[in-house]
């Protein structure tokens, strides 16, 4: 469904159910050069189990128009503005990779609005190697192949995503290429193209530990044991700063596609934990 945020179209997938702002809301935030479709299984599951779901296309990505946000902080402001547009007072935020930093920032900027924070495939600082940044600038298609190879831990991820018969290496590559080609508003970005822009947002993000100190909601970190984009050990400091519960899953960086069932179980546990904690606190 489409919203209008700062005068631009902002798309959010509602999980196959009409969006109902009166239900407990979960916002899903994708990573670099991705879009809402990386969340469809999880979004559908929660939408079919009593939640209002908003799986976003970040500005300049997928169906959302406008310039890509110039910083993680600005992307978080945009997310909070989208909640306003959707009539959502409070929401859980689940982010992956770049999206996990945006989720963290949203929880820090509006601690009264974010009920739960889940960071998947995350790290802080989320430094990006010079080789990948340089390749992203000069040869984005080659960089997509690098990201793809680093993001998937296996040639046989079962039961595949979003259904059987999908070749994840091909589908992730195609999604990144499509998002790259469809990017808008790059003149306001921080890279020569949307991949470089998104990677630089990750690389430049500072203040994560300070943001963590402002977070008031329960936090959960979900990591892939064989993640070569954001190594599990690189999430240790931010997890500690958030007092987050950490779940380690078999898989790499693209856990939504590689391990959809295990990630669903982790999210259900995280959100149930968070609900219990919130109930105890009140």
């Amino acid at each position: 469904m489409m919203f209008t945020v700062a005068g631009r179209e902002a798309y959010a997938y509602s999980g196959g159910k009409p969006f109902d702002a009166t239900l407990p809301c979960i916002v899903f935030v994708h990573g670099a050069l991705n879009d809402h479709s990386v969340w469809t299984l999880l979004a559908r599951w929660f939408a079919h189990h009593g939640h209002a779901v908003l799986a976003l296309d970040l500005p300049g990505h997928g169906r959302s128009t406008g310039a890509p946000a110039p910083s993680v902080q600005a992307a978080a402001q945009w997310l909070l503005a989208l909640l306003d547009a959707a009539g959502v007072a409070r929401a859980a935020v689940v982010g992956h990779s770049l999206g996990s930093l945006i989720a963290l920032e949203a929880a820090a900027q509006a601690p009264g609005r974010i009920t739960q924070l889940v960071m998947i495939g995350t790290a802080y600082p989320m430094k990006v190697g010079a080789a990948l940044l340089d390749t992203a600038r000069a040869r984005p298609l080659a960089a997509i192949d690098m990201v793809n190879a680093f993001s998937l831990s296996s040639l046989a991820c079962k039961p595949s995503f979003p259904g059987p018969g999908m070749w994840l290496h091909g589908s992730q590559r195609a999604l990144m290429r499509r998002t790259l080609a469809g990017a808008s508003g790059l003149e306001a970005g921080v890279g020569a193209n949307l991949l470089e822009h998104d990677l630089r947002l990750c690389d430049r993000y500072a203040g994560g530990l300070e943001a963590a100190a402002r977070v008031r909601c329960p936090a959960h970190v979900v990591l892939g044991r064989d993640d070569r984009m954001t190594s599990p050990k690189a999430a240790r400091d931010i997890a500690a700063a958030l007092h987050a519960r950490v779940t380690l899953l078999a898989g790499g960086h693209s856990l939504m596609a590689e391990a959809p069932d295990a990630l669903l179980a982790a999210l259900r546990a995280a959100l149930a934990d968070a609900a219990t904690t919130a109930a105890q606190a009140s």
Partner: protein, 432 residues
């Protein structure tokens, strides 16, 4: 996945989509010969039907063994996913039925497998789907044939039987300008010889009966989506971009930004038409694919030797192989098929129908039958079999001479194949 790039083609032929069986540790892929799969809980069952979990329910729609084949062929073609079907023909039908309905129109090459031509020219019109046929090299003709109701352009990488090379880069550009996809039958070339997605095709299918399985034992098809066509931007495919009532108003292009076509093809086409593949068949095709690079290299090597032999024979009037400078697609083949132009080709025995028949009957290693892409060498004489009811004038109009012979070169010793052909040419000469 130790490297910074996807594994190479040969590695993918062995490993893509398959890992040791988690339940038993079996290293080779098990054949999951089961119609149905147990739900872990009521929630799991409901979620599978809500399409909120991925998994197998019933083998008409998906099966773990078939899924490995689907992933592997998609990996080899550079696609996003695939669907295994009962035959190559079922794959073609699934592609068309997913994108077209009554009132739709297709533009197709004239150089098609006869069965595909039958489907398009005679059967689909009964369901309201019409096709205009255009010679593969008539580029203006393709452009002119497109109508507002056109939903698909379709051709074979190598036309049958003349091996006209489809100009995929040009035709895909024409298709995309008209906001429709290009569907390509890649049976004769396999991904080892050409990956049509790299040249602009949007959908690819195979008769896996042929080179992919490679041993003449099973029938099967695979339909692959390149994930590049923008169904939303096209505006011509509400099947993929508008709510589908049967599945809770699902909009396939929102569910998956790159695999909307496959989602609908599986969740509607495979479900409703039911032309699914047996897991046993999938397993046999996978066995074949594991040696595809080795076999295709040998197929091409043998073919080049046989072509060179035939081209030097006085009893041979013409050899139609695109690597020969005399072939009309020679330049295009050099561009699109640098590894070779396959191992199926036609040549003309100088002489009458009787001499053509004498040639066929004298062969000892070549098997006289109607198939291609077997490890065994095969031969067909169209004028006395598939086109026997045509007179010589009609044959000529179809590009077939009285002495046209179609060969599918197998994996035997090339010298033995050449000896066999020598003997048969002698027999043809004596039958004058």
């Amino acid at each position: 996945m130790p490297g910074a790039a996807d594994p190479g083609f040969d590695t993918l032929t062995i490993h893509a989509g398959a890992a040791p069986d988690p339940a038993t540790g079996a290293r080779a892929l098990p054949i999951y010969l089961s119609t149905s799969f147990v739900y872990q809980s009521s929630e799991h069952a409901a979620s599978l039907f809500d399409m909120a979990r991925s998994g197998h329910v019933y083998s008409r729609v998906s099966n773990p063994t078939n899924a490995v084949l689907e992933e592997r062929v998609a990996a080899l073609q550079g696609g996003v996913g695939a669907i295994a079907t009962a035959s190559g023909h079922a794959a073609l039908h699934l592609a068309i039925a997913t994108l077209a309905g009554a009132g739709s129109h297709i533009v197709a090459s004239t150089a098609l497998y006869g069965g595909s031509h039958n489907l398009l020219a005679y059967t689909l019109p009964r369901f309201g789907i019409r096709t205009s046929f255009v010679r593969p090299d008539d580029i203006d003709g393709w452009r002119a044939a497109i109508r507002p109701e056109t939903r698909l352009l379709f051709g074979e990488t190598l036309g049958n039987p003349g091996l006209e090379v489809l100009d995929i880069p040009t035709l895909s550009a024409i298709a995309h300008a008209a906001r429709v996809p290009l569907l390509v039958d890649s049976t004769f070339t396999t991904p080892w010889l050409m990956k049509p997605f790299e040249h602009g095709a949007d959908l690819v299918f195979h008769s896996a009966t042929k080179f992919l399985s490679g041993h003449g034992t099973v029938l099967g098809g695979v339909l692959v989506d390149g994930g590049t066509f923008d169904w939303d931007a096209s505006g011509r495919f509400p099947e993929l971009t508008a709510p589908y009532e049967r599945l809770q108003g699902m909009v396939f292009s929102e569910e998956s930004s790159v695999a909307a076509f496959l989602l609908r093809a599986r969740r509607e086409g495979l479900r409703d038409f039911g032309a699914c593949m047996s897991p046993h068949t999938a397993w046999l095709i996978l066995q074949g694919i594991e040696t595809l690079p080795l076999r295709m290299a040998r197929h091409v090597e043998n073919t080049r030797k046989v072509v060179a032999f035939l081209a030097a024979q006085p009893m041979v009037a013409r050899v139609g192989y695109p690597e020969l400078a005399s072939h009309p697609s020679h330049a295009l083949a050099a561009k699109l098929l640098p590894r070779g132009a396959g191992s199926v080709f036609a040549f003309d025995v100088a002489g009458s129908r009787t001499q053509g028949q004498a040639f066929i009957e004298a062969l000892r290693i070549f098997s006289h039958l109607t198939n291609v892409g077997d490890c065994r060498s095969l031969v067909t004489h169209p004028a006395s079999t598939t086109h026997a009811r045509m007179d010589d004038a009609a044959l000529a109009a179809a590009g077939i001479a009285a002495g046209t012979i179609r060969l599918s070169i197998g994996l035997e010793d090339a010298d033995d194949l050449i000896d066999d052909l020598k003997r048969a040419l002698d027999a043809a000469r004596k039958a004058q």
